[in-house]
Each structure stands twice: as C-alpha cells, then as structure tokens.
C-alpha cells in the first residue's frame, strides 16, 4: 500500500492546542468586562463650604452674643439647627461659653456637625 505523507500531522495537534488556548482567552475576556468600571460615588464628600458657612455664622454670633437675651439665643440656635437639617441634611449643634485669658476676654464656640458621612467638631475662641 502506498503510504501518505505524514509530515503535516503536527498541524492537527496545533489546532487542538490553539482551540484550548482560545477557550481560556474567552474566559479571561469575560472577566475583563468588569475591569475599568467605577461607580460615580464622589470620593471628596467633605462638606467644606457647608462647615465654612456655619463657622462664619458662629463668628457673627460670638461677636453679638453678649447683647442677646436668652430667648434670642435659643431662637438663633433653633434657626441654625433647623436650616442645616432641612437644607443640608446635617445635624448641627453649638454652644457658646465665655472665658478670659491674658490676651483678653473671649467666647469659646464649640461646633458639632454631622451629616451621616462626615462628623466634624471644633472649638474656636473669638476674642472681643
């Protein structure tokens, strides 16, 4: 019987290897659809301007604190906390105490701010 040329048999083997290779490549491509997607959550959530606005109000308040009646103080505090809650979704609380140091008399304003993501506390002396 005349024999066929068998030199091309490696092509069959290579075909099999390539098929297996493509299969694994497909698995990897499936996975790669996930890579590179990020959520739109803002990383910089710190409410800088909100806190700055309230701090600014605190300064005015500390300057005027001596001349206010208790009812006015309570009303102002209520107004600020309510506005922050309704407009900025933040819990704001503050207290004003008076003190004296070698530099003069001051009002110490303790500010507390919490919007569920950021909790911010500070205590600032305002000299008068």
């Amino acid at each position: 019987m005349e024999r066929l040329n068998e030199d091309g048999q490696w092509i069959v083997l290579m075909g099999l290897l390539v098929a297996v290779g493509i299969f694994f490549l497909a698995l990897i491509i499936n996975q790669s659809a996930l890579v590179g997607q990020t959520t739109s959550e803002a990383v910089l959530e710190f409410p800088k301007s909100d806190i700055r606005d309230i701090s600014g109000e605190m300064q005015d308040l500390a300057d005027a604190w001596e001349g206010l009646t208790e009812a006015q103080k309570a009303n102002l505090k209520n107004d600020i906390t309510t506005l922050s809650l309704y407009r900025k979704n933040a819990i704001v609380d503050f207290d004003v105490t008076s003190g004296t140091s070698s530099d003069g008399d001051f009002h110490l304003v303790g500010l507390h701010y919490n919007n569920g993501v950021t909790v911010y506390n500070d205590t600032t002396p305002y000299y008068y």
Binding site: F23, A26, L34, L85, I91, V119, N121
Partner: protein
C-alpha cells in the same frame, strides 16, 4: 516517517485516520459539553456584577437628588443579561414604619423600588429605600450591597432616618442600553420629633413575601446602626432624644 529497525507492516492508514478523527471529535465534544456552559455562566456572572454596579450608580444619583439639592438626574447604563423594572410605591408590597415608645408613628410607608432580574441566573438586585440589596430568586435570605445613609448622632442623641419613595406614573421596564431619568418631587416632609428624655425608636420593616429583603435590612440595622431586633422585623434603638424622619419622593420619568 520510518523508524529504524521497526517493522511497519501492521500499521494501518485507515485506523490511524479514525484514531485522530475520534480524538478531535471527542475534544470538540468535551469543550461543547463542559466548556460552553462555563463560558455562559461566567457571562451571566459578569452581567449580574455589572448590574450591581449600575444599581450603585443609580443609588448615587438618588443620593444627589435627596441630599445635595440636585433637581434632576439622568444616567445612561447598560442592562445586560436581564431586565430592570421600576415598581411604583403604590404597587409595592413592602413598607417601613417608624414608631417610638411614646406612641409616635409614621404609619406604613410604601417605598417602591428598582429591581433587576437575571435571565440566565437566579440573582435579583433591588434598590429599595436608598439601599442596594441582592437575593437569589426562590431562596431565603438576602444581602445588602450598598447601605442607605441613616445615622445616629452620639453628641446630640439624634437618629436621622430617610425614607425614599420611588414613584413612576406607569409601569416601566427595560433591557439593553437605557437612560434612567429621575427628579425629586416636592414636598420633602420632615418629621422632627424631640422627646424630653431618651426614648426607644422602633423601625418595623414589612417585607413583600415574594421579594423579601428582610435579612439584608436586618444586617444593616443590627450591624451599622446597632439596633436590637426586639421582634420579627422590628428593630429598636434606645437612648434617642430626637428623631428625624425625612421622606423624599423620587419620580422616575423613564428607564
């Protein structure tokens, strides 16, 4: 090829051909039988995970609407391997009720939701009351993927609870490339209840028995908010002096 010293008189061309052909057919059959389903499963998993992210994107849009005074949001997203639907609050069977030990009650607040059903798998992903939750269809249990922004302020003993009502004028559902358009509907109601002394606040979740996310909510309320489960689906936080419940309504115009 002829090897030296070997007698090849018994080698059959036909048998060799049949052997190679058989090997190839067997290999192809194995790949079709085992490999193809693995590929499909991977594809389905990828679709579900992509959708989890898409839901978190919608959740962030809702956060922008509610907490950052943004009036309107529009997001394009790809819904693949399943369908996304909007359940109007009026048609939703699950609800929240927030009560206090002093007798205050918000009543049952139905919330509506965004919900994704996977075609090939059994995964269900829902966006309910600002939280992204997932469960396997036909099985008990659920998990919370992204938490809502409820919080307790230790300094003032204030508990802030947000309820986000999803409203759609008609039943909406989509597949493929979609644009979710939403806006905030006024008014936002705020229930601001101060108690003289510290109170217990109960959050009661009434699940839809066919679409039950009570385990996810339990993990959130027990874990993040440190509430105690005092009865089935009833969670209590003690030491609250002030309770704030803000209710938003988000209208979905189209998906």
């Amino acid at each position: 090829m002829t090897l030296k010293g070997m007698n090849e008189r018994g080698v059959s061309e036909a048998i060799g051909f049949v052997l190679i052909l058989g090997l190839m057919i067997t290999s192809i059959a194995m790949v079709t039988l085992y490999g193809y389903p693995v590929l499909l499963k991977e594809q389905s998993n990828t679709d579900v995970r992509n959708m989890e992210r898409a839901m978190i994107v919608i959740q962030n849009d809702i956060k922008n609407l509610c907490y950052k005074s943004v009036p309107y949001e529009e997001t394009a997203l790809q819904v693949s391997g399943g369908s996304l639907e909007v359940v109007d609050a009026g048609a939703a069977l699950s609800s929240f009720n927030i009560t206090t030990s002093e007798g205050f009650s918000t009543g049952d607040i139905s919330l509506g939701k965004f919900r994704y059903f996977s075609d090939r798998g059994s995964a269900v992903i829902a966006l309910e009351n600002g939280a992204v939750l997932t469960r396997q269809d036909g099985q008990q249990g659920s998990a919370i993927l992204a938490e809502p922004r409820w919080f307790f302020d230790d300094s003032t003993d204030t508990l802030v609870v947000y309820t986000i009502n999803i409203s759609a004028s008609e039943p909406l559902s989509t597949m493929g490339m979609s644009t979710v358009r939403m806006s905030l509907t006024s008014p936002t109601t705020v229930m601001n209840t101060s108690f003289g002394a510290s109170m217990g606040v109960n959050v009661i979740y009434a699940p839809d028995t066919d679409d039950d996310y009570s385990t996810g909510w339990k993990n959130y309320l027990n874990g993040t908010l440190d509430m105690a489960e005092t009865a089935a689906n009833t969670y209590t936080l003690t030491g609250v002096e002030k309770l704030i419940v803000k209710s938003y309504t988000v209208t979905v115009h189209s998906v």
